[in-house]
């Protein structure tokens, strides 16, 4: 049952309503002219038309969305109440597979049944699908018609359709912008929920302060060993790779490229270099991951062995951090570029007119003035770096070493989230649930960084308004 049929139907009704309303508004207009007493329509006929059309299309749209969630439930319900469903296994994977098989045969997307139990369910499915389809179409027609009629009856010469349409459009835009926010909230709620479950098994103190990480997904889920859930090595690895090594690369290089681009580059150079830098930001991180794992990490190991460090591992925090730093350069440089460019030209002129050289002007006037924006850019870059997964998965290793030696393998929060979720443990095992607690911490930290960065940027903007 596809909602697109309902939407098409709604659009068709909408078009009809549009035409009818416009014709009606033209009639109002003609009547006013004929009376000859002056006066005119409160809104152009096309606004009357849009008003009615919106009143048809929007309710249909809402219904179609709701129906696309509701319809499958109805279908399943009807099919299960059929006597043929009585023989199904009660739970689990097999039951689901049989139902799916019957459904796809009923929809014509599979040639025939494989499991004999599914055989008897094909016909109930076919009936249920047909029923749902017809109910959907009928409901769409009724809703569209009612919406259109109620709007149509409200049309008068003095009806302010124009402001009504404006208000409706605003509401629609508001809804659209709420989608992203509500999604984020939904994610947060589910994270919180699973995190609380995890903390019911392992105490938050053990988790946040423990220094040994080694969950055992095969261990007894009811009696986990809290000393294996100490996340400090992960936090440290994350900070060391994402906020220290990567920033050692990204801050100087990003800042210098921003300075070159805003202060020294001719417009020709700028028009080539700036997009090139921005392309760096669009390279899929898995490509950086290859580069880190296959090129940089072995090179670092060889170099380390050449200077006599025999036990250098082929996975290292250094390799991951360096490559991550390169990946982050565009984030730092584009924020720095924007905030340096936002310093008024008058500051630059003032300094140059005092006899300062360009580099003195940059160092003493432009960078101090742009500092809040630059700092904000760095914070956004850090939040991007500590959330980065692909590079560390491929190059940093899985060993949760609590070490300051960049040549050793280390692991990060994101890596362990992947490892725990794809590991052997069942879904309600504390090892698996620990992924949610890690994700929750990561979420809070990046949220705080972003929030703080945006506030700094805002204050900075106001300073030059």
């Amino acid at each position: 049952m596809s909602p697109s049929i309902l939407l098409l139907l709604g659009l068709g009704l909408g078009l009809a309503g549009w035409l009818a309303a416009r014709a009606r508004a033209w009639n109002f207009r003609r009547d006013i002219r004929n009376e000859g007493k002056g006066g005119r329509l409160a809104a152009l006929p096309s606004y009357h038309a849009w008003y009615v059309a919106l009143w048809i299309v929007l309710p249909v749209l809402v219904f179609a969305i709701a129906w696309s969630f509701l319809a499958p439930q109805l279908v399943t319900g009807w099919v299960l109440s059929d006597p043929a469903a009585a023989g199904l296994p009660h739970f689990g994977f097999e039951r689901r597979a049989i139902l799916d098989e019957a459904a796809s045969v009923a929809l014509g997307s599979a040639p025939g049944v494989f499991n004999p139990l599914a055989e008897g369910l094909v016909e109930p499915y076919r009936l249920a699908f047909a029923k749902v389809r017809w109910i959907g179409i009928a409901a769409t027609l009724v809703i569209g018609f009612l919406g259109g009629a109620s709007a149509f009856l409200r049309l008068r010469p003095e009806f302010t359709a124009r402001t009504r349409v404006e208000r409706t459009i605003m509401t629609v835009l508001l809804m659209a912008s709420l989608v992203a926010i509500l999604t984020t909230l939904g994610i947060l709620v589910s994270l919180v929920f699973e995190t609380i479950r995890f903390f019911g098994m392992v105490s938050p103190l053990d988790f946040l302060l423990g220094t040994h990480w080694g969950p055992d997904p095969m261990g007894n889920p009811l009696n986990p060993d809290p000393s294996r859930y100490g996340a400090i090595p992960l936090f440290w690895g994350t900070i060391y790779i994402g906020a220290i090594i990567a920033m050692f690369v990204a801050i100087p290089l990003g800042l210098m490229s921003a300075i070159f681009l805003t202060q020294y580059a001719s417009p020709r150079w700028r028009s080539v270099l700036k997009p090139a830098l921005e392309i760096l930001a669009g390279v899929p991180t898995v490509v950086y991951g290859y580069f880190a794992a296959l090129t940089v990490a072995p090179a670092i190991r060889d170099a380390a062995q050449a200077i006599g460090i025999a036990n250098a591992s082929s996975e290292s925090g250094l390799a991951a951090g360096l490559v991550m730093g390169v990946m982050i350069i565009p984030f730092v440089s584009s924020m720095a570029d924007d905030s340096i460019a936002a310093v008024p030209q008058a500051m630059r002129d003032g300094s140059l007119a005092m006899g300062a050289t360009t580099s003195e002007t940059i160092r003493r006037v432009l960078i101090p003035a742009a500092l809040p924006g630059i700092v904000a850019g760095v914070m956004l870059a850090i939040s991007r770096a500590i959330g980065e997964t692909m590079i560390v998965v491929m190059a940093a290793g899985a060993a949760a070493n609590l070490t300051a030696n960049p040549l050793e393998a280390m692991t990060t929060v994101t890596f362990q989230i992947v490892a725990m979720l794809t590991g052997e443990g069942s879904f309600d095992h504390p090892a698996t649930l620990s992924a949610f607690a890690l994700g929750f911490v990561l979420f809070l930290v990046t949220l705080a960084l972003n929030f703080f960065a945006l506030r700094v940027v805002k204050r900075f903007r106001e300073a030059y308004e």
């Binding site: 008058a346 300094s351 005092m354 006899g355």
Partner: protein, 275 residues
């Protein structure tokens, strides 16, 4: 070295003022200067002598090239991509556009004050100390403090800000900010100060203060001021140059320009026929 005579004593005798070709060696002189922005000519064949201890006013309708010519005098046009200067501009007999000229040094000798006050987003103290620091004019904190105080005093701002030198320069009022910018320019001990419509963003009271200040300062420096207010030119300047469509139409004693202009176009402008 700069002498510290009271302002009235530094005025030159009328006889010398009336004759541009008197024996005085000009501080700056421009010969056949043209300025281009790309292919567009903004200043056309201007020659002028600027004397020290005079205030020279540039007047003329907007877009006639006053700012452009002013910026040519300390090579600020170098910072605009595509700008080009032809002709010769001398400072104490040296061509400032010759190759090997140290622009940084030139701008320390020929300071500039802009139309809109542009203090740096730093403390009042740091704004003034900026120039002396980059040019290495002070040995140690005590000397720097002395320069800051002297500059603020000369700009008539000391009494108003001496208790809050650590406050941000951008927190001052518009008129105070402009005097801060003048103090900043003075701090590196320039010989010439260029001012591009320094009062156009200020209210009448702040404007009067700046005009007073300009009159006090002229004892020490050659001052060139661009203004679109003829009253201001008449009040503060001893020499006036009238620009029109990129050319300098007339140059002479301010009183002559305003009471007895030689050129018809000057007269039209002065009497408000266009502008």
């Amino acid at each position: 070295m700069v002498t510290t005579l009271p302002a009235t004593a530094t005025m030159l005798p009328e006889s010398e003022l009336s004759d541009p070709q008197s024996g005085l060696i000009p501080k700056m002189s421009a010969r056949s200067v043209s300025v281009y922005y790309g292919a567009k000519q903004a200043v056309d064949d201007v020659s002028i002598d600027i004397q020290t201890k005079y205030v020279t006013a540039f007047i003329g309708p907007s877009g006639c090239g006053k700012s452009t010519f002013l910026r040519a005098l300390n090579r600020m046009n170098d910072t605009i991509p595509g700008a080009r200067v032809d002709g010769e501009i001398m400072l104490d007999g040296e061509d400032i556009y010759r190759s090997g000229m140290d622009v940084v040094h030139l701008r320390a000798r020929v300071g500039m004050v802009f139309q809109k006050p542009n203090p740096f987003p730093k403390s009042i103290y740091e704004n003034i100390a900026y120039g002396p620091r980059i040019h290495g004019l002070a040995e140690g904190k005590a000397e720097l403090d002395a320069i800051v105080e002297k500059s603020l005093r000369r700009a008539g701002l000391w009494e108003e800000v001496k208790d809050r030198l650590a406050d941000s320069g951008t927190a001052l009022s518009g008129g105070q900010q402009q005097r801060l910018c003048i103090a900043r320019a003075i701090a590196v001990d320039p010989e010439v100060i260029l001012m591009d419509e320094p009062c156009s963003a200020l209210d009448p009271i702040a404007t009067a203060k700046i005009e007073e200040l300009i009159d006090e300062l002229r004892g020490r420096y050659a001052i060139v001021i661009v203004t679109h207010s003829m009253q201001q030119a008449a009040r503060v300047s001893q020499r006036t140059a009238f620009f029109h469509l990129g050319k300098m139409v007339e140059y002479g004693k301010t009183s002559d320009i305003f009471t007895n202009p030689r050129e018809e176009r000057t007269k039209d402008y002065i009497t408000g026929r266009y502008g």
